[in-house]
């Protein structure tokens, strides 16, 4: 049972990731939308340390507006997609407008 559905707005969690990560620093604390599902796979926290039969978790394609990722980004329409696994996502924090 997936925690998130396509169209959900999600925020990438901030948090410690000592020694190895595949959740890019530039995504931490940033909000995007679930654009697609990816099949569940072994999480990097296990796979990178040789645990091929480690914890499997759903992955998601998260689409960000580039203007939400980079302070100086000008073009309104540009986006970036990357794949984040479930433990690193939470429902989008309400942004103060």
């Amino acid at each position: 049972m997936r925690k998130f559905q396509i169209g959900d707005r999600v925020t990438v969690k901030e948090g410690t990731s000592l020694f190895y990560t595949r959740v890019q620093t530039y995504t931490r604390g940033k909000t995007g939308v679930i654009a697609d599902y990816r099949p569940a796979w072994v999480i990097p926290e296990d796979e990178a340390w040789g645990r091929d039969d480690g914890r499997k978790e759903p992955f998601y394609v998260v689409r960000f507006n580039q203007r939400d990722l980079w302070p100086e980004y000008k073009d309104q329409n540009d986006t970036l997609e990357t794949e984040i696994y479930e433990r690193w996502l939470e429902p989008a924090k309400e942004e103060a407008k």
Partner: protein, 225 residues
């Protein structure tokens, strides 16, 4: 002779012989320990020499002339590849370790232009495009394309109007991507073979657009045979 002068000599000459030696040492030890066989090495080498951008070009050309194939390609990249003789399960039977899990073709439209990168390491769809170009693996490309895509694309000679959404795909996990560029004007009535010739590797990474005037030159060298 000062130490500084010796250091700069080594940097300039690009010796790399330490790596040559290390590679031979690792390979001979690995084979002698039975970690893999010389036959494994030969088979994998053979596979690496026959994959190249021509595979991806065939996929795009076929998708351009056959809308039903295009739909199958967009729905299930790995299955559709088999129709043009590309088997993602090769050469091991369960894929190339650094490439195989999921494959998605990204269709360029008048509204959306796709470009691919792997900021973390340089993941690349080798079964359909062969070995990545060396610039794709540079720290510089990995740093800049995600944040300054229009600037980087302009350095490739590609300018897109602001209305077009440039969508950067940072392939940081198990998916591998290839861009399907739009079919250019002036190619009406062309055969699949003629069309494949203008689908260059860079158009399938997303840093170039195909043109009826440009043909794919000899695919980049796979390294020494």
């Amino acid at each position: 002779m000062s130490t500084t002068h010796e250091h700069s000599l080594a940097l300039e000459q690009g010796e790399n012989s330490k790596f040559e030696v290390l590679e031979i040492a690792v390979r001979e030890l690995a084979i002698s320990r039975g970690l893999f066989s010389a036959e494994d090495h030969r088979r994998f080498t053979e596979w690496s020499e026959q994959v190249g951008p021509a595979g991806g070009s065939r996929l795009v050309a076929k998708a351009w002339v056959d809308p039903e194939f295009k739909a199958r390609l967009l729905a299930n990249g790995i299955e559709a590849c088999k129709e043009v003789g590309i088997d993602w399960a090769q050469p091991t039977g369960h894929g190339a370790p650094s490439d195989y899990t999921w494959f998605y073709v990204l269709e360029n439209t008048p509204q959306v232009h796709h470009v691919i990168v792997c900021t973390l390491c340089s993941c690349y769809p080798r079964p359909v495009l062969g070995m990545s170009p060396s610039w794709y693996r540079t720290v510089n490309y990995r740093r800049r394309i995600v944040r300054w895509p229009r600037e980087v694309l302009s350095e490739f000679g590609l300018y897109l109007p602001p209305e077009v959404e440039i969508r950067v795909h940072d392939s940081n996990a198990k998916s591998r991507f290839m861009v399907m560029p739009m079919r250019p004007k002036g190619t009406e009535g062309w055969s699949e073979e003629q069309l494949a010739a203008i689908v260059t590797r860079d158009t399938m990474i997303g840093v170039a657009l195909p043109s009826a005037d440009w043909t794919a030159t000899q695919p980049p060298s796979q390294g020494a045979s």
